[in-house]
Symmetry: C2
Subunit: 457 residues, 2 copies
């Protein structure tokens, strides 16, 4: 694929020292697209002064061009996204439609026409990211997507460039604001999952059908993108095992608090033991990538990430612990990240050097059963002598060692709150099956991974 | 200044698809330099796999070449820094000597010889940063300094690139790990400043002469660099008014805690009201830049930054609140940031496009007296009727409005704890002078700014 000359002249730097003019097409005018269009229309002077690039909006492709869009000149609106992408006036294409189709075809058309692409489309990247990145690199063009994970939080340049020399061990992210709002509300107001979800829906933080958020689909797509960024691994959303937050009970959140922990939904990407190195010449890397709720110590930097905020916590061999925090969604924050990418693409058009590209490799993904961490288990048992011995033996027989146990009376039952030492997940799952089969066990309640604490997991 | 051809051949990308070889000279082999040299010697394969750039260490300039340096081949060591900089084998110069001289001359020589420079030298940047950046830009070369502020925390690319489209309002940083360790220890262990300082010295976190840290000199240099990054303003360390932490008393830390606040030493850079825009064609920007302790609400993201960690909190018109958190010092974390810059410089040598440069402007700096925030004041008065009225009148006469007052008995005295509404600093200082002149006032104790709370300051 060769870069065409369409639009090239406009992207050249001006020799008189003034800013280069770069012409932008926006596909999609929803929450983020609308905010971006408004910024491009109103803030162009200031952006030019700050960045040295003058951005001109030349078209906005929408699904329904007849819908009134206050503040957007009618002449800019079109229903023909494909036509706008191929318009020779367009230097940079910004894809904010979301979903795989027709976004994928439009991005491919833009790259084929020699135009860099900026997108915030996590679904597209988490399914076809590696192929699109390869297509962009082959064409010598940018495919930038800072806004696709964790909205306004600068993530891509830190992971790809600042940490280029760093051997990253693990990335744990609170990357879904809806679930973090729900868990924060449950924790701070003592309400149920259902009540917290209703409140999030009332505030517009959760959809009427909340499953994309609460079941971890959204976080899984972002986990796949994080794997690409942190480990240059080609992982798709379907590779990511996920557990949502619908089963997190208030009682487990309060026990967690008593034990000094908070419950967060995490996207986790980590280099696992079997890893022999990175890159093509050093063997195939092995990683774990997953989404699940976990208990984190109250003093962990991620623990203080409240409400709809997102954060990504990075652990590196040399850099130590890093965290990047901010708003993960919302029109203007996401549009701000998109704008940073557009300016980058514009600069790269001027210099002819797109952002660096290291081809992703398809990693081995460590099976969930082989992962190791500590676990919290909340088990209701019959309250009679000897029961604890039976339960404890089952843990021991499965190779799971108990770090702490607390017994809480409950009428004629007892509730046992266990925290294990670091254990193999397969062993813990076998223990749980065994517990469910015991006569003396009435109910296995909350089961949560414990991460980021003194046991070093 | 024109780029010479020295070293150019080596920096070219290889057409066979393997990594380019880039040859690195390191000036200074202390804590950071030693860690970097060790990484370059031991981790070169993995770095090449991750980044696509093969780095070769060709020399290390030190003050005393006779000193044994385990792990560093003697052939690499030289006492002749100037000779190493001009060695035609060297593609990239890394300056880790620190201080203004001889670092400044060596950086200038490197740029004059057409070699990009990576430095972690905050003193140099906070005194001659604008001139050096201009020299680098004129020569079409990189001058990169990610490690100069907040060690391993990715700060420069987020501020310069990710947020290129963002109108930043304010940056508040915990950028000195020593003082944050001392304040955290005072807060969590209830010890005095002197005890916490002694503990920091015992742990190697504070120098024997701690004044560079505790008096805010180090933070002031970093504030100047933050001003350049966030607002493209040419500010030097001497422009930065600073207050240190030696006068912060345990009693004020506990009152702060009772009121729901923590005390942190902050480097603050903000766009102030008088600002008319950014850049050369939009008038001269007005900013405030300063270093002082401040009370932050316990729920503020910076409040949970404990011990020797650093964090930079950024507020933007569109992006909202962002925070970047990590280790601000230490050999390996800082070396990790330096390594990211070296890889960047190496890539830019290959593409011929250095990092972007927007010339900094000399801003107006808002006088301290014209700044506005809320204040905490701790005043010991004679305990007799009518005293509060006298004190309160003085506040009112100076235009300072009181948000809350708490009286605490103290034998035959009373301690009054005031928190004001947002007030002009000049008015607060006049109030303080007035209070010190009142017969009924025995002692004006802790005086702290209150930031980041519901009054929006």
């Amino acid at each position: 694929m060769a870069r065409t000359d369409a639009g090239k002249a406009a992207a050249q730097p001006r020799r008189d020292g003034t800013e280069a003019l770069v012409r932008v097409a926006v596909l999609g005018c929803g929450n983020v697209g609308g905010a971006l269009v408004s910024l491009l229309l109103s803030d162009s002077e200031a952006i030019a002064a700050r960045s040295g690039v003058r951005l001109e909006l030349v078209g906005v492709a929408v699904g329904d061009p007849s819908k009134p869009r206050p503040g957007v000149p009618a002449a800019l609106i079109t229903g023909d996204a494909k036509g706008l992408v191929s318009d020779p006036r367009v230097d940079v294409v910004v894809e904010l439609i979301g979903g795989v189709d027709p976004a994928r075809g439009l991005v491919e058309s833009a790259l084929a026409a020699g135009k860099p692409v900026v997108t915030a489309n996590k679904e597209l990247l988490a399914t076809h990211g590696a192929a699109l990145a390869q297509a962009a690199a082959s064409a010598g063009l940018d495919l930038l997507y800072e806004a696709a994970v964790a909205g306004a939080i600068p993530l891509i340049r830190p992971l790809r460039e600042s940490l280029a020399g760093e051997r990253i061990r693990r990335v744990m992210g609170i990357v879904n604001g809806t679930t973090n709002y729900i868990l924060t509300t449950m924790s701070e107001e003592g309400v149920s999952y259902t009540q917290a979800l209703a409140e999030a829906q009332r505030l517009g933080l959760a959809e009427r059908d909340p499953s994309a958020d609460v079941d971890g689909h959204d976080a899984a797509a972002k986990a796949a993108i994080l794997a690409a960024l942190a480990f240059r691994c080609d992982v798709v959303a379907d590779d990511v095992p996920r557990e949502g937050i619908a089963t997190v009970a208030p009682v487990d959140i309060s026990f967690a608090a008593r034990l000094g922990y908070v419950v967060k939904l995490l996207a986790v990407v980590e280099r696992t033991e079997g890893s022999v190195g990175e890159g093509t010449d050093a063997g195939v890397p092995e990683i774990s990538v997953r989404v699940h709720p976990a208990m984190l110590p109250r003093t962990h930097p991620l623990a203080s990430v409240r409400g709809a905020f997102n954060a990504v916590f990075i652990e590196g061999d040399n850099a130590g612990e890093l965290m990047l925090y901010g708003l993960g969604a919302g029109g203007r924050p996401t549009a701000s990240a998109v704008l940073g990418d557009i300016i980058d693409a514009a600069h790269h058009l001027r210099t002819g050097s797109p952002a660096r590209f290291v081809a992703p490799v398809r990693p081995r993904i460590r099976p969930t059963d082989d992962l190791r961490c500590a676990w919290y288990l909340n088990i209701d048992v019959v309250d009679r002598p000897g029961v604890l011995a039976v339960v404890a033996r089952l843990f021991g027989d499965n190779g799971v060692s108990i770090r702490s146990m607390e017994q809480v009376g409950l009428d004629d039952e007892a509730r046992l709150i266990f925290v294990t030492h670091v254990a193999r997940e397969g062993d813990v799952q076998r223990t749980l099956s065994g517990l469910r089969g015991l006569d003396v066990v009435d109910h296995v309640g909350g089961v949560l991974r414990v991460m980021g604490d003194e046991e070093g997991t």
